[in-house]
């Protein structure tokens, strides 16, 4: 079975050790985490983990079930076949000597990114978007010199309406 990226969302109780438990389960069962993003939801007792997993279909099914077994995990969605809005946020420091700044500035505009800090030798840029866009921006910056990258990892939300098949799969 081919290995592809799957986006899984888990709503978890805000209790000590939940993140460790989820991370440990992935390690113990040899599942590959591509990215993991955690943040609070509108309910202060519940956080959402968005996990991108590199796996084939039967493995991702196990991932979903094993997540469901963790008691502070309240709900698990497998958003693999879903039409998703996916966003990654990146801060990147790009070497920017004065003679290159105009070029870099036009690149930043093309990507609808923005400059958040500037120094004598580099600029810090904030980029958001789907993963491909972020990767493309890094590639475009490479010739100038990428000094530092910090990324949040993917967060995602399905667009509406959702497919009936997906809704049926949602039960934990």
């Amino acid at each position: 079975m081919p290995t592809t990226k799957h986006t899984i969302s888990a709503l978890v109780q805000n209790k000590p050790g939940v993140l460790a438990h989820v991370a440990q389960m992935f390690a113990a069962r040899s599942f590959n985490i591509d990215s993991l993003a955690v943040g609070r939801t509108e309910d202060p007792d519940i956080s959402r983990m968005t996990i991108v997993v590199l796996a084939n279909d039967s493995t991702v099914e196990q991932v979903r079930k094993q997540l469901g077994k963790i008691i502070p995990v309240v709900k698990v969605h497998d958003w693999t076949d879903e039409n998703l809005v996916q966003r990654d946020l990146m801060l990147v420091k790009v070497a920017a000597p004065p003679e290159k700044r105009t070029e870099i500035q036009s690149l930043i505009e093309m990507f609808q990114a923005k400059v958040v800090d500037i120094g004598p030798k580099f600029v810090m840029v904030e980029v958001t978007g789907p993963e491909e866009k972020i990767e493309a921006f890094i590639d475009m910056c490479r010739p100038y010199g990428v000094k530092d990258v910090a990324r949040t990892g993917i967060i995602a939300m399905p667009r509406h309406p959702r497919s009936p098949r997906q809704q049926a799969k949602e039960n934990k």
Partner: protein
Amino acid sequence: MSDKSLSTPPKAGGKSGKPKEASKPEMTGSEIFCQTLISEGVETMFGYPGGVVLPVFDALYDSPINFILSRHEQGATHMADAYARATGKVGVVLVTSGPGATNTVTGIATAYMDSTPMVVITGQVKTPLIGNDAFQEADTTGITRPITKHNCIVKNVKDLERSLREAFFIARTGRPGPVLIDLPLDVSIAKTNLNGSEQQMDLPGYRVRPLGHLRQIKRAAEAINAAERPVIYAGGGVILSDAAQELTALVNKANVPITTTLLGLGGFDENDPKSLHMLGMHGTAYANFAVQECDVLVAIGARFDDRITGDVKRFAPNAKVIHIDIDPASISKNVKVDIPVVGDAKNILTELVNFVEHRDRPGWFERIEGWKQKYPLVYDNNTEGIKPQYVIEEVSRQTKGQALITTGVGQHQMWAAQFYRFSRPRHFITSGGLGTMGFGFPAAIGAQIAMPDEVVVNFDGDSSFSMTLNELPTAVEHKLPVKVCVLNNGYMGMVRQWQELFYGKRYSKSFLQHPSFAKVAEAFGAVGLTATKKVEVPEIVERMLKEKQCCVVDFHVEREENVWPMVASGSGLHEMAGLPTESIERL
């Protein structure tokens, strides 16, 4: 588990779940601990004291709970495990922080792999000291997270009762398992009211679905009714859900041959002609051949472990697979399942039996009978020395298959599974999943405490027994008439067998120098006997069974006996070595 009312968490703190009047007297965490355990029905618990749990032990001093003091925390955990397996109740362990907690790790992992309901309470250093590398501090929840169904640290005494109730609820419902509560010293002495509005269980992520889906049950019944060569493969889940009676009803009504896993032994009467006995790596040829040739395989409370399937790609190649299990994560984990039925085995089998119909299946039973005739479980007993299998057969004969058997891990465990004929559930207690050497003797103690009127026999290896014989004084102190049959071959028998077969007889570190186990037993105040010749066996077994106190019999058995038949790791389940005739069945 089988209790339907448990499908949603009940409210703690009285039937109504309403907050009790605020005028209740304040209690310490330790008093709350004792009171909650009593209200959860705990009569017996196991453990070992230490610094940070002294307040809890002080509260236990006035409590009616029967506390069994082990000689090592691992022993306490195995005792509680066996107590739970023998009774179906939750086994309870109380130990101190740090080394007390880490010593329970092997016992907790054993219980986790075999789905034993257990609650382990570990002391912890005071909350302000946590993370400071304090004396006897260990990150107990961190260490035990991968081997518990759930664990948590209680940092506020107001959460203690709820956390304990949640622990018992989680341990015994769904697929049972060990739950650990880490209790810091300051929480055990802090005071609060026992009942309060915050005492309701808070488990939004824990749902148990005990009832099987009716449509899936009907589909399973249709497949069984249409099958020409069906086989039932029953595991420990049948025992855990107390479904032996329902399983027997299904086997008899649908007229289907049945094999069990190691942990499923006793789930069906092995004296019944429809029983194929155990399957797997050291299973019977007729069970393995039947599974490989069947057209419908009905797995009940089993998880397609690698010791069962052999080469998983070639496992039951022609079978439509029905899988009944309460854990959805077990479905299609190792073997692709055609008809999954998620739920409690007892409930599902009760329903399923209504939809199956009797079929004669004459050709299938005839073929199986042919295998049974051609490939029975045998060993050469024409020796002067003692064959280990003979000891087990003799104990089986003299106890009429009615004893409660525990084992360590290795050759003797497999021989016990092969040559003792089990007819009742909860009478074979062994470490299947984790394969924990040293499990047998403390398990026998726990089982005997749970079942004072049963004859409890621990078949043990010399190496397994050496790991936990420090519990001899526990058995002596409580006047437990536990019988220990040490099948002493002076080797780690199974390791030696693999070295003989796969490592050119290079017996690297599998040879052990032992003391006289009889003298060891006597030194601890137990009865110690030794047998070196086959002719002595019937009499010494008889004497052992008559003993009213702990009795260790050191059977000096044939040293290089192997466990046959055997499916080598990576082979197909039908590719069995060591069958009575040389020809390997063509399937």
